[in-house]
Structures are given as structure tokens and as C-alpha cells.
């Protein structure tokens, strides 16, 4: 039994039958992490090696591994199961948590030097829900600093590598979570998505990743980047696992005012109903220029598959979608400029001493934030300042309203929408690091649904050659989008598609990843 290659549901059924214990599953994952993630496997909480000490074949998905706590929790679940207790569907299954969600017992860094030394005094609502369900958190995953980026290269603690090709990025900002699931370092992970930060890395790493309807999963304990857009969601190796994980973490939270008060969608009942008779829209504006030919080819094939399953494919227009990217890159930095103001050296995290409070604030922020975070704080501060507010923030908000309306109109005609998740396959480490605009273009297909608040996910659709290395086949994701609070429809389409694709989430990376590649043959 290769425990680190099984899906969560396979693990769960083996746990239920007693074939294997949660402790064995957790230990298998910890062993694999110790072998190939570049951690110092010592003490209760293993820390990642510093960026300079990481090896070229270390995935570096984790920033911290809560080894002792994970083993303890696994033992507890095993004991409860042995005692005949009724346990949740994913009890005893391990998971990787993005380091932007708070969890007691380990630092939360958000990929930033700014939070150095901060031990969160409380669990995020998502974290608490996972504990409650008996899901075992293995550790905290790497990310672009404060979730700002599309490659995880903006982490202050070194790059995470894509398990499909260790010289390439995993996408971002939830790159650590995506790489953990792709690389056999966790069967499940939690990420957060503001403009595509779950979907794009899922696409680039060949795994399933979903952004639920805004407000479906509580944001309490999710360190805010852009509050009106941030949403936590699942990563998994298949659609059913992702749906099962979302079902665990979704639901109204009185601690989050923006949490949807209605009952969360039932993701289970219609999951396997197929797409026969469904109308699925292809978004005219989310293809063409800027999309790699390989990506377009896989997307065309995906449409054929959906049609072959009985879905009616129609072209629809989201007229204002082309303005989504500029609107997003005003709204998100505006909110970020305010959200990140609290990192001032006064109460927690980094403090660089200086003679006055004001100088201490400035010195701390200069030292604590990386260049991309500073860039966005400056953009956002400018967009909100008087004299510019109307032209930038307000105008962007209007565009946002128009995009939401476009989606609502489109869903009058179709049940779901599809597009490529990302215009490209995984690109090389460092390739776009110095070109922010090129980096921002990664989000072109994912930001419209973010602005509309609607659910959207990425499901593996096939492989395409890397433009810079045609021999290298890399994963391509299909983005499935659905109306507000119809996450059930989104999962149903994605599940049906997955059955037809025959995609095996098996990265073909070198040495340490060899174990994952056997199944491809």
C-alpha cells in the first residue's frame, strides 16, 4: 500500500476498515516530507531549511511541520475509532494548511518576515473545523508573502518547486499547498484564493483546487489580503475529495459578518449526476490572445469531452471580463494597503527599534515586507487617496459590479461556465519574477469569478508541452464556474469531466519523486 499516493477517500475507507491506522498514514507522510521537502526533522515542530540551505530537489512545500501534534492527533483518532466512536468521513486523514490561516501550536508567517515570532493566540474557524472533524494537520505550507503572487516566489522563505518539474514554479499564492498534494506530501490541503490563488496553482500542479462562493467558508483567522475577495478552499487529488473537504469547512460563522447566513450547498447528493442535458458556456473573452497553444488545445479537447457526455456547449460573453484584471489590481491592493497597516511593530511580529514610534513603524515595515507587498501597498494607498479615489477605487468597484452582472446574465442562459484556468503551464523559477505585469497576467482567467464572488474551481484536463521545453509535458487545468452558492453544480460538472479525462495526478519529476511517476505508465 503506497499511503502517500492514495486519495483521501481511499485512505478514509482503509482507516474505516482498520486496514491501516491514522498513525501509520501520518508517519508515512512525515517520512516522505523528511526525505524530500527540505525540512530539519527535529523537535515537535519541524522547520523548513533556510532558503540558502535548500537543495535543488527539495520541494519546500512546508514552512513548518507539526510532527508531534500530528502524531498525537492521529493516535487520538485511532483510539476513538478503536473505542467504536462514530467519526467524521475524513477523520484521521492528514492535511496541509496554508500558512495564512492561524493555528495554535505553530507560528503563522504568511510567508513574511513581518510576522516573525508571532504565535497566533487562536485557531481560525477553518482550523477549528478541521480539528473537530479529526483531520490531522501535518503542517503549514509555503505561500507568496501575504498571498500576493502567482508563483510562490514572493515567499520570504524560499521558492516552492513544482513536483512535475522541480525547476518550475508551482503557481501561487497557495503554491505550497498545491505542491504538497501533487508531490505526495499530503492527500489534502487548504489554500486561499483572492484572484486565483487556489485555482492557478492547482492547474499548474495537476491537482483539483476550488474557490467556494465568497462567504461560504469563514474568513475568521484567515490573515486578510483583500477582505472582499479572500476565500479559503480545498486542494485534493480528485473532485470527490475536494467536495468532501469543502463540506467539512463550509457553513455560517457568526464571527465573520460576510459569511453567508443561508445553509451551505449540499455538495454530495448531486455530485455524480453527470452533465447530460446541462448547458455549459464557453467564455468568449477567456481564451485566445495570451493563452499558450498547448493550453488551448487541451481546452478544446475538454469541450469535446463535455459535449460527448451530453452537455450542450454554447459560447457566452462576459463583456466586461477583459477589465477584470485591472479592476482586481486596484481593489485588492486598496484593501491590502489598509489590511496590512496593522503590521507596525507595536503589538506582535517583527520590530525594528527606532527613536520614535513613527520611525519604528517605518523601519519595521521597510525591513519586514518584501518588494511585491510594498508595491501593492503603494498602489493601494495611491488608489484610495483623495483626488484618485474616484478614478481608481470607485471606478474599479463599478467594473466589479458590471462583471458580477455579466455573470448573472450568463447564468440565465447556462448552468455553468468553463475556461482554461491559467493561460500557461508552469513556467520556470525566476522567469517572471522581475516582471510584475507578466506575473499578474497569470490571473486573467481567474479574477472575473473572484470579483463576482461566484464559485470556481480547477480540475486537471490533460498535459501540454512547455513552450520553453517541448519535450516536457505539464498539467493544464479546466476552470469550472457556477452561479452564486451553486458550488454543487460546479463540483458536479468537474466530477463528470474528471471521469472522462483519465488524468492521473502523477508528477514526473526526478529522483525523489520517482515514486509518484510509476502509475503514469
Amino acid at each position: 500500500m503506497e499511503l502517500t499516493r492514495m486519495s483521501a477517500s481511499e485512505l478514509a475507507s482503509n482507516l474505516t476498515t482498520g486496514e491501516v491506522s491514522s498513525r501509520e498514514v501520518v508517519d508515512a507522510h512525515l517520512d516522505r516530507i523528511a526525505a524530500m521537502d527540505g525540512v530539519v526533522a527535529e523537535g515537535d515542530v519541524w522547520s523548513a531549511r533556510s532558503a540558502d540551505d535548500l537543495g535543488g530537489d527539495d520541494v519546500h512545500a512546508y514552512l513548518a511541520v507539526t510532527a508531534t501534534a500530528a502524531r498525537q492527533q492521529a493516535d487520538e483518532v485511532d483510539a476513538r475509532r478503536a473505542a467504536g466512536e462514530e467519526l467524521g468521513p475524513l477523520a484521521g486523514v492528514p492535511l496541509a494548511l496554508k500558512d495564512v490561516l492561524t493555528m495554535r501550536g505553530a507560528p503563522t508567517t504568511c510567508g513574511s518576515r513581518m510576522l516573525e515570532g508571532w504565535d497566533p493566540p487562536y485557531d481560525a474557524t477553518v482550523t477549528a473545523a478541521l480539528r473537530e472533524a479529526g483531520v490531522v494537520v501535518l503542517g503549514k505550507t509555503n505561500m507568496d508573502e501575504f498571498a500576493m503572487g502567482s508563483s510562490t516566489e514572493n515567499s520570504a522563505f524560499g521558492d516552492t518547486r513544482n513536483p512535475w518539474d522541480l525547476d518550475r514554479v508551482p503557481g501561487g499564492s497557495s503554491g505550497g499547498s498545491a505542491a504538497a498534494v501533487a508531490g505526495g506530501l499530503a492527500p489534502l490541503a487548504i489554500g486561499t484564493d483572492t484572484g486565483g490563488s487556489i485555482r492557478q496553482p492547482a492547474a499548474l500542479c495537476g491537482v483539483v483546487g476550488a474557490k467556494p462562493t465568497y462567504g461560504t467558508v469563514s474568513r475568521y483567522g484567515l490573515v486578510a489580503f483583500a477582505s472582499s475577495l479572500d476565500q479559503a478552499g480545498p486542494f485534493a487529488r480528485d473532485v470527490a475529495d475536494a467536495a468532501a473537504l469543502q463540506a467539512l469547512i463550509q457553513g455560517h460563522d457568526p464571527r465573520d459578518s460576510t459569511s453567508v447566513p443561508q445553509e451551505a450547498p449540499d455538495l454530495h447528493t448531486t455530485l455524480r449526476d453527470g452533465v447530460q442535458g446541462m448547458r455549459i458556456g464557453v467564455v468568449r473573452e477567456l481564451q485566445g490572445e495570451g493563452y499558450e497553444p498547448g493550453v488551448e488545445a487541451v481546452f478544446a479537447q475538454a469541450l469535446d469531452r463535455l459535449a460527448s457526455m451530453g452537455a450542450e456547449i454554447v459560447e457566452v460573453s462576459l463583456q466586461h471580463a477583459p477589465y477584470g484584471l485591472p479592476a482586481y489590481y486596484l481593489i485588492a491592493p486598496s484593501e491590502a494597503s489598509s489590511n496590512l497597516a496593522r503590521f507596525d511593530g507595536v503589538r506582535y511580529g517583527l520590530r525594528v527599534d527606532a527613536p520614535t514610534a513613527e520611525e519604528m513603524n517605518a523601519a519595521t515595515r521597510a525591513a519586514g515586507f518584501g518588494p511585491e507587498v510594498k508595491r501593492r501597498i503603494m498602489i493601494g494607498t495611491h488608489a484610495l487617496s483623495s483626488g484618485y479615489f474616484d478614478a481608481y477605487y470607485l471606478q474599479a468597484s463599478k467594473v466589479r459590479t458590471l462583471i458580477a452582472r455579466d455573470f448573472a446574465d450568463a447564468y440565465e442562459q447556462v448552468d455553468a461556465l468553463v475556461s482554461p484556468t491559467s493561460p500557461t503551464v508552469a513556467f520556470g523559477l525566476g522567469d517572471k519574477a522581475d516582471d510584475p505585469l507578466a506575473m499578474y497576467l497569470n490571473d486573467v482567467a481567474t479574477v472575473p469569478a473572484s470579483l463576482a464572488g461566484t464559485p470556481a474551481m480547477s480540475v486537471p484536463a490533460g498535459l501540454a508541452p512547455a513552450p520553453d521545453d517541448p519535450a516536457r509535458q505539464l498539467p493544464v487545468g479546466l476552470q469550472v464556474m457556477a452561479p452564486l452558492s451553486r458550488d454543487d453544480v460546479m463540483y458536479r460538472v468537474a466530477w463528470a469531466f474528471e471521469q472522462q479525462t483519465g488524468f492521473v495526478p502523477a508528477p514526473t519529476g526526478p529522483r525523489a519523486l520517482a515514486g509518484m511517476s510509476q502509475e503514469v505508465a
Binding site: Y220, S227, S257, S337, V346, R347, Y348, E358, L384, F389
Partner: protein, 502 residues
């Protein structure tokens, strides 16, 4: 007096910004206690200390309280409004933004009518002594926000500048705050003071706050400018650190004169924030507003809209209690003199007054006692009426004992002191009994004492018989001495006359 406040031709223009801390059980965005005076940083949590990832949830009670006060101030309630973020860096502001309101406040366009002696005012014409004139001050808006923490600067002056280090107490951070912004309708210090006092009274009447300036649960900033009659509004200064109604009056007076002096000397007034120094009696520059601070307001994405449907507003309107102005009128109609009526209402003694009257007390006497001796003794004992244990029933009982001749006024004051000393655990009758404070009006007992005094003072008696009526005072004194002051003076006189004329 204000007719001499400014030289001829000058007019004072004042607008007040009053912050009211709402006394909800919990803070505006979290479940922490709002208790005043607890150990520093004990009423705190991830939300009010701005921990990463924590989120605010609006306190419904605070919104209702704010609506109640807004309605009491004759304001309109926004059917839909929302919270904005006011962005600025300051160490006692945990998130480095204050959640406030911006373009649409919860309450708009109210007003407050204040009573001012007619002798004060811009015209300067003195009216009949003591006559009251009603002046309307329009209220632009009431908006909701959150309080900041408190900084304590250690070393040097006790102010931030030059301090060795600063400590911050976040207990106050996130306490619901309501900012009441008046229009610049105030033209003399007396009206400013009357407005603040009246607002304090309304806040207390609605029960949304105890409005104690000394504890900071109500705070006032004054925007002051001067202009020559008929001219455009002058540049204003904002005066902070006004710790009492009295300092408001003093500061406005000082600042108005200062501005006129500067202008008459050919200078200009800078747009600035000035600090009132209570001991020096002057305002001093705190910070110059070189440009308008850019707070980069934008809608707080963590919070949803506040919706106040008409039905909800009307239900809250039905809870608006009798306000101080109406209460004063009612007391005057019951015969209480205006000044005493104002004192009873202003000191929060109205419930006690009403209870006493309900228990059978004469309104005039009740008003007189509450405004006079009760207030005086409480002040001397440094007690609030509410904490003193002295109730309306006690007052009615006390007045009853005076009426039936059991107590003289003098004795009644001693009994009152006893009741207050016992914090109300003993009523007036019980105190009088215990301390033997009872008028000797029993004829037999008193007659015996009178006869003895007459017998012992033959000379004086002869004097009186000889026509020196005044000398009877000495005999009354003797009787009082013999009864330890408890003889009924009227009765004593009567019996002495009888004995002398016999």
C-alpha cells in the same frame, strides 16, 4: 459676561463635536467587556487588539442605542448605511485604521433646543434677570465608530513628545463610540455650555451612557472661529482636552479673544488643533493641519450594511423616554421653581423626585430638598444619588415626618445624613428613633421644662412682662438647650407666653 467677550463688530462661531461612549455590555466588534477602570489589557481579545486574521462583527445593541439617541436628538435614521475605514497610523489604534462612518451616517439632521439666560448672547442686550430663552442648535450627524486604546507616556512631560517610552492599554480599544457633530450654530460660550450640558442630560435620560466627562465617557472638541459681522466664516481651530463643561466655556472664551487679537493685529489664524491647558487657562498649538489629512476612507469590506427598516426605527422611537426639557417643564408645572427643576433634572434626581411624589410627597418640597440639602449632602459625602441608597420613598417619609411635626427642618437634615450614612439600609423613621431625633412637642413634657425655665429666670421673665418682647428669645434658647434642640419651636413659644402671662 459675553457682551464684553468680543469687541464690537466681531462674531464668535462655534461647532461642537461630542464623542459619547455607549455603555453596552460588550465592545463594538467583539465580546470583550466595556468595564471602565479594570487592570490594563485585561478586556482584550484577538479582535480588539487587531491580531492578524481576526474580524469585527457589529454590536446590534450599540446600533440600537445610537439610533435611540439619534431619535432623541430629533434626527433622521438612514435606512441603509455602512461602515468605512479611516486609515491612519497611531500606536493606540490596533488596526491602524478606525472603523467609522463616512458619506452616510446612521443619523442625520437633528437638533437640540437649549435654554440660555437672555442676558447672554451675541446681541448683548440684557433681558429681564433670570429669564430663559430657547436657542436651537442644529445637529449635522451622529455616526458610529470605535474608541482607541489609551497611551501612557512615561517620562518627561507625560505627553508623547519627549517621552522615554509609551505603554498602551487596549481595554478601551473598540468600545462603541457615537460622534455627535453640531452645525456651527453657536455664537457664545454660554450656549456652547448649555448645549453640552443638555446633550449630557439627554444621553443620561436615554440610558445609553453615564456621560461622565471625568471618565471620558463623553468627550467634547470645539471648533472655534471668529468673523466680522456679515463676513464669510473665518478659519477655525479645533480645541481638544476639554475636561468639563466649565473648561469648554473658559476655552471658547480664551480662544475667541485670542483669534480676534491676532486678526486685529493683522495676523492670520492657522487651521490647527489646539490643546486646552486647564491650569494655565490657555490654548496652545498641538499640531498644525498643513494640509487636510487624507484618511483614505473606503467601505470596510469586513462588515455588511446596517439596515434600519422603518418598523424597527418606530419601535425604537417608542422607547425614547421623557427628555430633560420636557421634565423641567413638567416640574415647573408642578410648582417647582425653574432653577430647582433644572437642578433636579440635571443631577439625575428625576426618578427619585417622581418616586417621592408617587409616595405622597409634595412636589415643591421634594424639589426643594432634592435640589438643596440632598444634593448638598451628597456632594459633601462625594456620593452619587444612585449609590447613596437614598430613595424617593425615603424622601416622602422624611417630608411626612416634618409635616406631622415629628421633625423640625433642622432635625430632618440630621435624619437625612443618617439615612445616607446607612446607605439607605435604614429609613428616616428608623434613624430618627435610633438617634432619638424627635421634636419634643408632647405638651406635658414640654410644659414641665418651660415652667422650670420660667422659674429659673425670674429676671428675664420680669423684663418681658415689662414689655421687652425680644428677651423671650433667651428663654427659647434655654428650652432648646434643655431639650437638646428637639423642642418644637412654635409650641415652645406658645407655652412660654402662657407661662409668662400667668
Amino acid at each position: 459676561m459675553s457682551e464684553s467677550l468680543l469687541p464690537d463688530g466681531w462674531e464668535l462661531v462655534v461647532g461642537l463635536e461630542v464623542h459619547v461612549e455607549l455603555q453596552t455590555n460588550t465592545k463594538m466588534w467583539c465580546g470583550c467587556s466595556t468595564e471602565f477602570g479594570d487592570e490594563p489589557n485585561t478586556n482584550v481579545c484577538p479582535v480588539c487588539t487587531g491580531q492578524p486574521g481576526a474580524l469585527p462583527v457589529a454590536n446590534e445593541q450599540a446600533i440600537e442605542d445610537a439610533t435611540l439617541l439619534g431619535l432623541a436628538l430629533n434626527g433622521g435614521v438612514a435606512e441603509v448605511c455602512r461602515f468605512h475605514r479611516k486609515n491612519y497610523f497611531y500606536p493606540d489604534l490596533a488596526k491602524n485604521y478606525q472603523i467609522s462612518q463616512y458619506d452616510v451616517p446612521l443619523i442625520h439632521d437633528g437638533h437640540l433646543d437649549v435654554e440660555v439666560a437672555t442676558s447672554s448672547g451675541r446681541g448683548g442686550q440684557a433681558g429681564p434677570d433670570g429669564a430663559l430663552e430657547t436657542r436651537r442648535v442644529r445637529i449635522e450627524r451622529l455616526h458610529m465608530e470605535e474608541d482607541t486604546g489609551k497611551s501612557l507616556h512615561v517620562g518627561d512631560t507625560g505627553r508623547l513628545h519627549g517621552a522615554d517610552r509609551s505603554l498602551i492599554d487596549y481595554n478601551r480599544c473598540g468600545i462603541p463610540l457615537l460622534e455627535v457633530v453640531s452645525r456651527p450654530d453657536i455664537h457664545d460660550p454660554e450656549t456652547a455650555q448649555a448645549y453640552l450640558r443638555e446633550l449630557q442630560g439627554i444621553v443620561r435620560a436615554t440610558g445609553v451612557s453615564d456621560a461622565r466627562m471625568e471618565e471620558g465617557s463623553i468627550r467634547c472638541d470645539a471648533n472655534v472661529s471668529v468673523r466680522r459681522h456679515g463676513e464669510e466664516l473665518g478659519t477655525r481651530t479645533e480645541i481638544k482636552n476639554l475636561n468639563s463643561v466649565r473648561s469648554l466655556g473658559r476655552a471658547v472664551r480664551f480662544e475667541a479673544r485670542r483669534q480676534v487679537e491676532v486678526l486685529e493685529d493683522g495676523g492670520t489664524i492657522r487651521l490647527e488643533t489646539r490643546h486646552w491647558d486647564e491650569s494655565k487657562g490657555v490654548t496652545e498649538t498641538l499640531r498644525v493641519k498643513e494640509s487636510v489629512t487624507d484618511y483614505r476612507y473606503f467601505p470596510d469590506p469586513d462588515l455588511v450594511e446596517v439596515v434600519s427598516p422603518p418598523a424597527k426605527v418606530e419601535a425604537i422611537r417608542a422607547r425614547v423616554p421623557e427628555l430633560p426639557a420636557a421634565a423641567r417643564t413638567r416640574l415647573r408645572e408642578q410648582g417647582v421653581p425653574a432653577e430647582q427643576a433644572a437642578a433636579v433634572v440635571g443631577t439625575g434626581a428625576l426618578p427619585t423626585f417622581d418616586a417621592a411624589v408617587a409616595a405622597g410627597a409634595d412636589p415643591v418640597a421634594a424639589g426643594n430638598w432634592l435640589a438643596g440639602d440632598v444634593a448638598g449632602q451628597l456632594t459633601a459625602a462625594e456620593l452619587d444619588l444612585d449609590d447613596s441608597g437614598f430613595t424617593g420613598d425615603h424622601l416622602a417619609e422624611l417630608l411626612g415626618l416634618i409635616d406631622d411635626g415629628t421633625l423640625s427642618t433642622k432635625l430632618a437634615k440630621q435624619v437625612l445624613a443618617g439615612v445616607i450614612q446607612a446607605r439607605g439600609a435604614k429609613g428616616p423613621a428608623e434613624v430618627a428613633d435610633e438617634q432619638g431625633l424627635k421634636q419634643v412637642s408632647d405638651e406635658g413634657e414640654l410644659r414641665a421644662i418651660v415652667d422650670q425655665v420660667v422659674a429659673d429666670n425670674e429676671g428675664t421673665v420680669e423684663d418681658i412682662r415689662g414689655g421687652n418682647d425680644k428677651a423671650i428669645g433667651a428663654l427659647v434658647g434655654q428650652v432648646m438647650k434643655a431639650t437638646k434642640g428637639q423642642a418644637d419651636p412654635r409650641k415652645t413659644n406658645e407655652l412660654l407666653r402662657e407661662a409668662i402671662d400667668r
